[in-house]
Structures are given as structure tokens and as C-alpha cells.
């Protein structure tokens, strides 16, 4: 096969965005502050967060998750909800560990680069709840927004500028205020649906560009 035809074939392949991050978190009201912090933090690092809740429900859930995971360069999996829930019958949530398994399998099987991170609220719990990940250092957030931002600064780095926790906290404060306004304008009580999530991501990008100078528009060279 000639080089030209090979290049043509490669051109046909869809280019994957390299600044997208898949967010795999529990969608419960108690987690909302941490969810906002995660969106704020990822936006502060110049990434675009994605979650399963943004895709229309006509497709099969598992297909949606796989499609999103394939499109994302990074994935963040929060395994802090391992307790039994209160509603009978009492069950733990297996969704997050399952999606983490899909991400790990994706990393192993595909040639595409995919980097996954595990978030936890308590130290050493992961080695008990998911011992197959032995040797993996989880990112501890302690169940607080500041903890989430600290964990992200430990996991990520930018080649040009490394945002500080204080800078990310400013984006978080902006976004927490904006979340209330977005919920009010959309007439919803929760952020866990497609439209509020998408608008929150755009709002986080606007705030990040205003708060962190290096993320803003670059001055044109003469």
C-alpha cells in the first residue's frame, strides 16, 4: 500500500479530542458539591469533562458509556460510595467500579492513550474494597470540594502553567454560584441531567479563562 493511500485512510479516521475527561461519579444530592468541584478543577486544567448523563437516553446505557470512554483521553472514577444505600433492598453501587473496569480494559486493549484515575474519600479503603487494584495509589479527597481540587492538582500537570488550589477554588466558588442560577433558569432541582451539566461545563470554561490568566486568550505576536 502506498504512502498516499495510507495517509488518505488515516485522514478518514475520526480524530479524537485530546483534552476530554470522562467523569464517573455517583449522581446523588450529597455528591453535588464534589461534582461541581470536579468540573471546576478539570476546567482549570484545560480539560472538557464528559459524563454519561449528557447523551440521549435512546441508546443502551452500556453502549453510551463505552462510546464516551473511547472518546476521552482521561477518566476519573470516584469509588467513595461503597456503603449500602438506605432504600430496601440494601445494596452497594457497582456502577462506578464497573465503569472503572471498562476504562482499565480500554487502556489495556486499545493502542489509544487513555489514562484513568481513582478517587476515594478514605485512605486504605480501596485496597479492601477493590484489592485487584493493589499498588494503585488512589487520589484522596476526604469528601470535600477542596479535597477534590487538591487531588486533581496531585494527579494533573500542565506543561505551560500549573493551576494552584487557590485558583481552582475561585473557579469552584464561581461555579457553585452559577449552578444555582442555572438550576433556577432551567427550572430543575438537580444538576444531574444533560442540559444543566453541559451549561455548567461551559460556565466553568468561562470562569477558568477569566480567573487564570494563562488560560485566557494569548496576545497576538506582531
Amino acid at each position: 500500500m502506498g504512502r498516499a493511500s495510507r495517509r488518505r485512510r488515516a485522514g478518514r479516521r475520526r480524530r479524537l479530542p485530546i483534552n476530554t475527561a470522562f467523569v464517573n461519579v455517583p449522581y446523588d444530592p450529597d455528591y453535588e458539591k464534589l461534582f461541581i468541584a470536579l468540573i471546576a478543577g478539570l476546567s482549570g486544567f484545560g480539560l472538557i469533562p464528559h459524563a454519561t448523563l449528557e447523551i440521549p437516553g435512546s441508546e443502551r446505557r452500556l453502549t453510551r458509556i463505552m462510546g464516551l470512554l473511547r472518546r476521552c483521553r482521561y477518566s476519573f472514577h470516584d469509588l467513595s460510595r461503597v456503603e449500602l444505600d438506605a432504600t430496601p433492598p440494601e445494596t452497594p453501587r457497582f456502577n462506578m467500579p464497573f465503569e472503572l473496569g471498562l476504562a482499565v480494559a480500554l487502556r489495556q486493549s486499545l493502542r489509544r492513550r487513555h489514562e484513568w484515575f481513582v478517587l476515594e474519600a478514605k485512605a486504605h479503603r480501596l485496597s479492601k474494597s477493590l484489592s485487584d487494584l493493589g499498588g494503585t495509589d488512589e487520589l484522596l479527597h476526604g469528601g470535600t470540594p477542596r479535597g477534590v481540587l487538591r487531588a486533581l492538582t496531585n494527579a494533573l500537570a500542565r506543561s505551560l502553567h500549573r493551576p494552584t488550589v487557590a485558583e481552582l477554588e475561585q473557579i469552584y466558588a464561581d461555579l457553585a454560584t452559577a449552578a444555582g442560577a442555572i438550576k433556577k433558569s432551567l427550572g430543575t432541582g438537580s444538576l444531574y441531567s444533560a442540559r444543566p451539566f453541559k451549561e455548567l461545563v461551559v460556565a466553568a470554561r468561562i470562569s477558568a479563562r477569566q480567573r487564570i490568566a494563562s488560560l485566557g486568550p494569548r496576545p497576538r505576536r506582531r
Binding site: 494503585t136 494527579a155 466558588a173 464561581d174 461551559v202 460556565a203 479563562r209 488560560l215
Partner: protein, 77 residues
């Protein structure tokens, strides 16, 4: 899981993010206005993490003096 991931990709613009998320241009304009209002302090408590650095003004100083005087008087009686 890598120890640290170094992101080299360029930071997406607001328009690129909106296109990726499927948010309409008109709505982006509204969100931009909302975020500018928040950042400039016209909406909500946005100075949560900023500590006060300016010295207290004459009005606050007078109120504080009066409060201390009242407390001293109450202690004496």
C-alpha cells in the same frame, strides 16, 4: 494509573467547549454575562476565599470602639 499526567493539549476556547457540549451560541452569551457578573462580584458571594486586606474604615472603627466601651461598662457594673 499514572503518577501524574502532563497535559500538553491547548486549552479549548469557550466556543470550542460550547461546540463540544452542544450549547447554543445565544445561551453561551447569557452564560458569559452570568459568569462576568459573578466574577465581578455583582451576583453571589464570590470573595469567599479572598481575605480582607484593607484597614477598617472610620465608621467600622467607631462601631468597634463603642462595642468595647459598652463591654467594659457592663463588666464594671
Amino acid at each position: 494509573m499514572p503518577a501524574k499526567a502532563v497535559i500538553t493539549a491547548p486549552v479549548p476556547t469557550v466556543q470550542e467547549t460550547a461546540r463540544e457540549m452542544g450549547v447554543a451560541k445565544a445561551r453561551v452569551r447569557q452564560l458569559r454575562q452570568l459568569m462576568t457578573d459573578i466574577v465581578e462580584g455583582r451576583i453571589g458571594r464570590v470573595v469567599r476565599f479572598v481575605t480582607r486586606t484593607a484597614p477598617a474604615g472610620p465608621k467600622r472603627r467607631a462601631v468597634a470602639k463603642r462595642r468595647v466601651a459598652r463591654r467594659k461598662q457592663a463588666a464594671r457594673s
